[in-house]
Amino acid sequence: MTNPPTSPDPVVTEIVRNGVIAITEEMKSNLMRTAYNMIIYEALDFTVGLFTEKGETISIGLGLPMFIRGMAETIKAKLEHYGSENIHPGDILLTNDAYITGSHLNHLTFSMPIYEDDELIGFACCMAHWPDIGGTLDGITTDIYSEGLQIPIVKYQREGVVNEEIVDIIRANVRLPDRAMGDLRAQLTAIATGERRYLELVKRYGRKQVADAISDIMDQSERAARARTLSIPDGVYEAESYMDDDGVSISNRIPIRVKVIVEGDEMTVDLSDVAEQVRGFYNSGITTGHACSQVAFKCITSPTDYPINDGSFRNLKAIVPPGRVISAVKPAPMRWWMTFPMTIVDTVFKALTPAIPERTIAGHHADLVIGLLNGINPKNNEFYIAFIGPTGGGWGAKHNEDGVSATVCINDGDTHNSPAEQLEAKYPFLIENYALREDSGGAGEYRGGLGCENTVQARADFMLNAQVERMHCKPWGLNGGREAMGNSVVLRAGGNWKEDYPNAKLLTARINAGDAFAFRSGGGGGFGDPKRRPAEIVADDVRQGYVSVGSAKSDYGVVCDVKGNLDKVATKKLRTP
């Protein structure tokens, strides 16, 4: 071999690739471990990242998968707002503008410009969920103004000096100012870590070498994305689904229609026919419309490639006209922004199934199945805000394997539930059960995963607010697989369960001591004809209690007893067409 080495150096590229992943992981662990609120450290409701001086994504440390675009768009907006010439070393830029982040006001987004020798070379950024940002606690909001404090793009810190007036404004507008300041400090720690480590990398390998390596990483990601898109047959693929309602016009279904166009090595996700923005707080901003496309696209074309960077999306075009439920404009209410986008992502998989059934997945429960609770803790007479969940539900089956049970929805990633022992030690709750729901997974040659039931009894009165979707539009099966059970929320008062609600949305339900509520998360859809599932496996599902004797017979055509003893003759009879 006598050819000159290629430029940039592939070894430096790989070292930088490992380096930026390690940096965003360290930012993440610093944030998680210093954060005050459980939503950050248990639910991982945050994202950290490194960006180029133009705001392109170099590496994202998740956090939530759906935050794939929020920070990059926020940095771009900040750059546009100030002009890079008016951003200086020691500045920290802040906003929670929901129409920029695409999400809700709880997402405070801090960005720190990174300078080497007075030249702007990138940004370290951290978006994290604060449990409270003011606004009404009760009821469904119908505009952004009732959702809390809006912070336009501001400089939290100018050339190293904190703007204490902004701190005062925040403290005056949130219910738990000390906690909020704790989270704020954690976010600053995370971005400072990002800045310091990125500078170390630049110092070690040279500014130009690192920049070249990053553009090389993005080019590699682009090549991979193009190759994997090329393997999808050309065509126009469409699918639809719907949301239960917007919480205001009860039972008024909200249509979700997506169109995917594959042409050579390029893909277009057209969301023009998604429903228009709604009155209730289920809207999200245009950034999330783009995030929906990118999440679906990444799952199909580069699911396990890291770092998450903008190169992977150069061959993806998203058509997201303003004013849709995922591209809402001011003053649309945004508080529960995260629910609808998940169903859009699932609907994209459904659309692509005829083209690439071996790479898609049946519908999942597609909701956080989470509840916000507040009340007075009799132990210390203090007001508390707590949350139950994410409950975890079923995921769809695939062409070659069963769906996974009891796992967070696609909005969430490495998100953890809270131990019952932790919740009960902290709050006046008694968790009565946390169990898999028999028969909740869609039947199929490959069975959908199971959802869960989580029953919470009040030891002292509290208020519950649960905004659960997809009770009616149940997780669908693919290629002959059956649909799963949907999500629901039920209440028990005076020993009697009430289950006949029109949707799974409960606004400020009062739960008295001794009463309870239960979350029931849906399962995942099945894949393929259930009659093709081997009878022995169905019988074992019955023995384990994943499938009932009745469902085994009616859905799978398998006759067995509760212990899984198979009646081969009866089964053969049922399974013979």
Binding site: M1, P5, D9, P10, V11, E14, R17, N18, G19, E26, N30, M32, R33, T34, A35, Y36, M38, Y41, L62, D178, R179, G182, R185, A186, T189, Q220, R223, K298, C299, P303, T304, D305, F349, T360, G392, E401, V404, S405, A406, T407, V408, D412, G413, D414, T415, H416, N417, P419, A420, E421, E424, A425, K426, I431, E432, Y434, A435, L436, Q544, G545
Partner: protein, 695 residues
């Protein structure tokens, strides 16, 4: 058998069983002599390998007064899923928490993600009617009849082990104890394990996973230890048989047969204990224990003379991990080892690991049919490993095969020179390993450059100087026999019992007499265990700590608390300690915020008599001629440098070597880079000073 010489038995034996090799260290306190025996592990009957190793180390069981043992049997049983048929008895309503877990999905965009697989299938998980409140008071009394019914059922299922997990048992173990009593009475031959005996810390899923793991591996570990005991007795050994725990501390073989899950990581932990002992001998307070083998590199930390431990670990890869909530050495692992494969990824980038060529077929240079280039191949190609002196010449390495693999799989596709490709593979491996070192230092608020690095394992000495340079570490120490270091480390372990008890209380409201009672109770348990142990201790040390957090946080940090802070009810002093630890670890603290105690921790250590390291023969600064085995060309960066090779066994204390140089011994080679200098210390360790910016 020479049982009549038992009264003069003095040898301390340590045996570490790894996947490939069994290492034995034998220390004779009479003359300070330390001998090693390395032999292939004998999976069919591991004790045979130990016996061979003992003979190779020039001694025999009857000559020993103490037998220390670390083994992968526990972890392998768990990872390979070859444990007992186990049932789980659990609080009503919670049968599925073991399967539900924490519902997290780390592999965020992968639609084909997997989650952990329980060790007990759902059909064998049974609910017990009972319930406690978080405070430990009874909400629903235990339905004993139901326990009897379950026992009748599982007896028919042929269950060998039973795990018991009841909610809030950390606050009140009465129900767990009673259930255990009934099960033991009903199923006298089953291995029965309750969660509170292993962990009295909240988090039901993690504790459940811990107790199930213990029950699942229990019968096999019991038999394994019984087998060794029987053989030791038959061979005339009548000393103490102690097992290494994942903390690096020892416990009695009897206890290891009940609390099996405590020995999961005994080998790696012993290496860190060896590092600690070495540091004490040469008066270093802060060191990184760097252990690199064939498939992984591991890093542990000695900080201010103490090995850092953690309260829990995930077993079996993050995505599908089964948690174990017990004290362990805090070790971070990356998938980079000598066998790590270099390849071009789909996206076109160069990757090194985590796929490994393993020992079959092994690196291309082993000549066993491997065609993928590995880190070892890069070392061979660059001249860092001598093909004819590998494993003391027991194996000849095929340089051409290494060259061809690197050229074909990496250099040509990337349009690079073979040498640059080989160099690149090492650079990438070194930076990944430096991330492991960062994970245990900088992410804990420690500055890596304040640490020395002690490198061992077959591949550790090959890469230590590069990793140290990458991290800004100035001193590297290669101990004697780096390939036997875990066995060596065991000789320095002490009896150790770790206790934890969840106790939620705000510091401001804490009832100190209650906390004191808990501490004293835990300490008394430790004293009892040490008294019961079969070996005599020199003295007993007790240390107290508490897991603390700010009110509102979930993650807590463990704060070591001197007893006097409790005696004087010094809330401000405790708070100050907590703020300090929080600041050290996370770079922030909030002195004005309220804090709370989550769990109390006690470690009771029974100090054993330690070997005194013996000095080796001293020489001049210039090494003796017979140690110099030749010169060979070795590539460093873009330069091919004429490099001296030395036989380590011939080096004397005070010998001084300037890099570049290779120091070769039976199972490993130390690479000294240009700019580095090496001094052999009095104990025979290679003490390396990392020079400037050499490559």
């Amino acid at each position: 058998m020479a049982t009549n010489i038992n009264d003069v038995s003095t040898i301390r034996l340590a045996a570490d069983i790894g996947g490939t090799f069994t290492d034995v260290a034998a220390f004779n306190p009479k003359n300070g002599e330390l001998n090693f025996g390395k032999t292939l592990s004998t999976p069919a009957s591991l004790i045979d390998g130990i016996a061979t190793g003992v003979a190779k180390a020039g001694t025999s069981f009857p000559e020993a007064e103490i037998f220390l043992h670390g083994s992968t049997v526990a972890i392998n049983t768990m990872l390979e899923r070859t444990g007992a048929k186990t049932a789980l008895l659990i609080t009503e309503g919670f049968r599925d928490i073991y399967e539900i877990g924490r519902v997290n999905r780390p592999d965020a965009y992968n639609l084909f993600f997997q989650k952990h697989q329980p060790l007990v299938e759902r059909a064998l998980r049974f609910e017990i009617n009972e319930r406690l409140y978080a405070e430990g008071e009874v909400y629903k009394p235990l339905d004993e009849e139901r326990v009897h019914q379950i026992c009748a059922f599982i007896r028919e299922e042929g269950i060998e082990a039973v795990a018991i997990l009841l909610l809030h048992c950390y606050a009140n173990p009465a129900h767990e104890l009673r259930v255990k009593e009934i099960v033991e009475e009903e199923l006298p031959s089953a291995f029965v394990s309750t969660s509170h005996e292993l962990s009295r810390e909240y988090r039901e899923f993690e504790r459940c996973s811990t107790v199930v793991a213990n029950a699942y591996i229990g019968p096999k570990v019991q038999n394994y230890i019984d087998g060794i005991k029987t053989r030791l007795q038959a061979d005339g050994f009548d000393g103490s048989f102690l097992v290494v725990q994942s903390t690096g501390g020892l416990y009695d073989a009897e206890q290891a047969q009940r609390q099996c899950v405590r020995m999961l990581e005994s080998g790696p932990a012993a290496g860190v204990i060896g590092t600690q002992a070495l540091c004490e001998a040469i008066e270093i307070r802060n060191a990184i224990a760097f252990d690199m083998g064939g498939t992984t590199a591991k890093a542990g930390v000695i900080h201010d003379g103490e090995a850092l431990t953690t309260g829990s670990a995930l077993i079996g890869g993050y995505e599908r991990a089964l948690p174990v909530q017990i004290a362990m050495m805090d070790i971070f692992e990356v998938g980079t080892g000598g066998g790590s494969i270099a390849r071009i990824a789909d996206e076109g980038g160069l990757r090194v690991g985590p796929e490994s060529a393993g020992s079959e077929p092994g690196p291309a240079c082993y000549g066993q049919g491997g065609t993928f280039p590995t880190v070892t191949d890069a070392n061979v190609y660059l001249g860092r490993l001598s093909p004819d002196r590998f494993l003391g010449g027991e194996m000849t390495l095929d340089v051409d095969a290494a060259s061809e693999a690197i050229n074909e799989k990496v250099a040509m596709p990337l349009n690079m020179e073979t040498a640059d490709a080989a160099q690149g593979i090492l650079s990438i491996a070194v930076t990944s390993m430096s991330h492991a070192v960062k994970a245990v230092t900088t992410e804990r608020g420690l500055n890596a450059s304040d640490f020395a690095m002690v490198a061992y394992g077959g591949a550790g000495p090959l890469h230590a100087c590069s990793v140290a340079r990458e991290m800004g570490i100035g001193t590297v120490i290669i101990p004697r026999s780096p390939g036997h270091f875990s066995a060596f480390g065991m000789l320095f372990s002490d009896l150790r019992y770790d206790y934890v008890r969840s106790r939620f209380t705000r510091l401001a409201d804490a009832d100190f007499s209650d906390l004191e009672d808990v501490y004293i109770g835990l300490e008394a348990e430790g004293y009892r265990e040490i008294e019961k142990a079969s070996t005599a201790t020199e003295r007993i040390l007790v240390s107290r700590g508490a897991d603390m957090r700010y009110v509102g946080q979930e993650h807590s940090v463990t704060v070591d608390l001197p007893s006097h802070l409790f005696a004087s009810e010094d809330r401000a002093g405790i708070k100050e300690r907590f703020d300090e630890v929080h600041n050290l670890r996370y770079g922030t603290c909030a002195p004005q915020e309220r804090s709370e105690i989550v769990s109390l921790r006690v470690t009771v250590t029974g100090m054993l008599e330690k070997p005194l390291l013996k000095s080796i023969v001293s020489g001049e600064e210039k090494p003796p001629k017979r140690a110099h085995t030749g010169t060979k060309p070795v590539q460093f960066g873009s330069d091919m440098l004429k490099t001296d090779t030395w036989d380590r066994t011939q080096l004397l204390a005070k010998n001084f070597i300037i890099g570049p140089a290779l120091i070769e011994e039976h199972a490993s080679t130390t690479v000294l880079h240009p700019g580095d200098t090496l001094t052999v210390d009095d104990f025979g360790n290679l003490n390396i000073n990392i020079g400037g910016d050499a490559l």
